[in-house]
Subunit: 225 residues, 2 copies
DNA sequence: GTTGTCAGCTTGTCTGAGGAGTTGATACGG
DNA sequence: CCGTATCAACTCCTCAGACAAGCTGACAAC
């Protein structure tokens, strides 16, 4: 910490340093960190800087400070920031993750879908068809995502829905890129494939729904290769 | 902010207040917050308190402060904390999510597994067999999870691996509970099912690997019903 | 042995003083 | 009229010092 190049604010650098020491095992889970004044002296920064570093890590649920007692390690590393993970990951890996989620979602949807889910399919499918011809790219993308979300929602599994929502921003960006690269994409990205998924779920055929979903999403994935 | 009951530190309360205002639409995405002194006056706290509140929200990736420019909203709400989501979710929902991830992982592993992956299967499977008879519960659980992780790792998909790791703590706790409730579980939780998954991947049969994985994980899921 | 007290630690908050970076207005030269 | 350079005002960043508030363990009194 002696020669700290000033790229990020000192407080952020101090937070990184604390995180590094936690990762290195210097302070185990539940351990108490040295006092603010001690840490400030160790890192060669002011006390308020240390306080902001601790506060940042508290926001990331790594540290917890209790007045009068001290600062304690409550997690050995920051919980993975999924937005960041998906941003950095290969798009093919992301699309394979999506395939896992949605295929299972379609399968479960075929066994649990309610009349409200079917109505949702009708609405989103007709929206999608309308957007396929004349709407701007982002409308079309949102309409497409809305149907896919309706499928996952019909699985009535909060974890799968949350997983899908986590993936949505990354998928949206990937679709935007694909449309830019390929004007014809919208036509190849067939409405019929979506109708087939909805039909299989409507017919309460889990294996068919999963297969149709897998076919469609495999096709989408292959577009980026 | 006038009558602030002192349960949490002022800085945390200030962070909550800022989060509330962002959620209420007072500051839209990308908007610039008032200066530190202004905010301090508005909330009736000192400048350093505001700074710590901002720093906490910066750690949660909601705000971003740029020296000389100001503090900006970069997300309308804190990113979903997946540990929290999984903790609160129904265990059946979690296990269905796991099923989606691992089944797809097994399928991809069957097409991409390397010799190193196969060696990993051998090690983890023999560990698991040893742990099934005499080892304490947590050893057995770790050995079981190690094999399942080896399968997902063999898919060579960073997103799936990260997803699996996110689920692990919740699954680990669920297994601990199941073992406590059912002394016989370990025997029913058959080693043969795991060997069958490994064999299918070894044989490069994606559909069989997926089916074996699905069978096994469906059985696990049904144990909690 | 149990209880009460308290000194010494910890974090929490405020204030004032500069340092450093950004931005937009303004004056200048073409 | 347009592009450029300058700069003043604004922002966040960091430090230091002071005091408040809360926790903990030692120690004395019972």
């Amino acid at each position: 910490m002696s020669v700290m190049i000033r790229r990020h604010p000192l407080a952020e650098q101090a937070a990184e340093e604390l995180l590094r020491r936690i990762g290195s095992g210097e302070w185990v889970l539940g351990a108490k960190l040295p006092g603010e004044t001690t840490l400030a002296a160790q890192l060669g920064v002011g006390r308020s800087t240390i306080r902001e570093a601790v506060r940042e890590l508290a926001g990331r649920r790594v540290l917890e400070s209790r007045q009068g007692a001290g600062v304690f390690v409550i997690a050995l590393q920051a919980a993975e920031d999924w937005d960041k993970v998906l941003r950095k990951a290969d798009i093919t890996d992301v699309l394979e993750g999506r395939l896992a989620i949605e295929t299972e979602g379609a399968r479960l949807a075929a066994t649990r879908r309610t009349p409200a889910d079917l109505k949702n399919f009708r609405y989103t499918l007709s929206d999608r068809q309308r957007a396929a011809v004349n709407a701007p790219d982002d409308w079309y993308i949102e309409a497409d995502l809305a149907f896919h979300r309706a499928v996952v929602t019909a699985a009535h599994n909060a974890v799968l829905t949350e997983l899908f929502d986590t993936f949505v921003p990354r998928i949206r960006r990937a679709m935007m890129d694909m449309l830019k690269l390929d004007e014809e994409h919208r036509h190849r990205h067939d409405q019929a494939a979506h109708e087939a998924i909805a039909d299989a779920i409507r017919a309460k055929d889990p294996e068919l729904a999963a297969a149709r979903s897998r076919e469609h999403l495999s096709a989408v994935r292959s577009l980026v290769n």
